[in-house]
């Protein structure tokens, strides 16, 4: 199973010049807590410049009493975010996220464009489904043996 088949395909992007106030409004409107920061006028496919989360805004802006309308996304975002490829296996993605200690990573295609977001939640759901299949195999084994070995 690869990353492309379990990640969320919906990516909300922003750019570094946007103010943090507007980024918070975007998070509210789009019901997301994670924005991928891309150049305002990208010249062809290129990797994201950074990522910014709702937590970054609370910790780095609100808690410091900074003015969210005066600060730019580019000043608060985490730069050089860890990426995973949509063709990467789940194992590789898990190792990458574990190594970097991040819960969410942008997913890129072979041309380097961001096409999705992979979160710990997506991975947990995937692993839980696999576990459910395992216990299902055990249940079915019993049932099939009961039916065929009468």
């Amino acid at each position: 199973m690869n990353v492309g088949s379990i990640c969320t395909r919906r990516v909300i992007t922003t750019h570094p010049q946007l103010d943090v106030q507007a980024a918070a409004e975007l998070m509210r409107q789009e019901h997301v807590g994670f924005l991928v920061v891309v150049p305002e006028q990208p010249r062809g496919p290129q990797p994201p410049l950074g990522v910014i989360t709702d937590r970054d805004i609370t910790i780095a802006v609100v808690a410091k009493r900074a003015d969210p309308a005066a600060l730019k996304v580019g000043e608060v975002m985490s730069i050089q975010p860890v990426l995973v490829g949509e063709k990467d296996s789940v194992d590789v993605a898990l190792r990458t996220m574990r190594g970097a200690g991040v819960r969410r990573v942008p997913v890129s295609n072979s041309r380097g464009e961001v096409v999705g977001v992979l979160s710990l939640d997506d991975l947990l759901e995937f692993i839980a489904r696999q576990m459910e299949s395992l216990s299902g195999a055990i249940r079915n084994e019993r049932q099939i043996e009961g039916a065929t070995r009468t």
């Binding site: 918070a24 509210r28 409107q29 805004i57 609370t58 910790i59 969210p68």
Partner: protein, 149 residues
């Protein structure tokens, strides 16, 4: 398994009349993503709501409000879903699923806040159990190998 065995005991809490700014500072200082809201931190320790880092962004900044003048009472999620420290974790998991919450305040017999149980705490515990299962498989193979030589 009981919540008191796996919850984080020192929950960060705050009175309902304090500001969103104060809660954000607590989150920064204690490296947590949520604050348990109490009626009063001195006299009444029963949880009445929960405020997360996301609530501050969405309910305060996202609405162009000032974090210093918005109180936690205005933005907290109510009614609060709680767990008792001595009930079975399986029941707590069901409650978290029903209400769609990732974190749940844990209270003692007198409804006083004693900790917070998060999805992360439960995930670590369940993953440890799954790892133990895999270990049983490995050891059984080893044991058979030794016994049947």
């Amino acid at each position: 398994m009981l919540p008191k065995e796996i919850c984080t005991p020192d929950a960060v809490s705050c009175a309902a009349d304090r500001s969103a700014l104060h809660a954000a500072r607590l989150m920064r200082e204690h490296h947590v993503g949520d604050v348990i809201v109490l009626e009063d931190v001195e006299s009444d320790l029963s949880p009445i709501g929960v405020v997360t880092d996301r609530d501050i962004v969405v309910e305060v900044l996202g609405k162009e409000l000032d974090p210093a003048s918005v109180t936690l009472r205005q933005i907290m999620r109510t009614p609060v879903v709680i767990a008792s420290m001595s009930e079975d974790v399986t029941q707590v998991l069901e409650r978290m699923k029903t209400h769609g919450v990732r974190r749940i305040p844990v209270v003692d017999e007198t409804s006083r806040l004693t900790g917070v149980l998060s999805l992360d705490d439960l995930l670590k515990r369940l993953a440890a159990d799954a790892a133990s299962l895999a270990e049983v498989v490995t050891r059984e193979q080893d044991r058979e190998h030794r016994m049947r030589r």
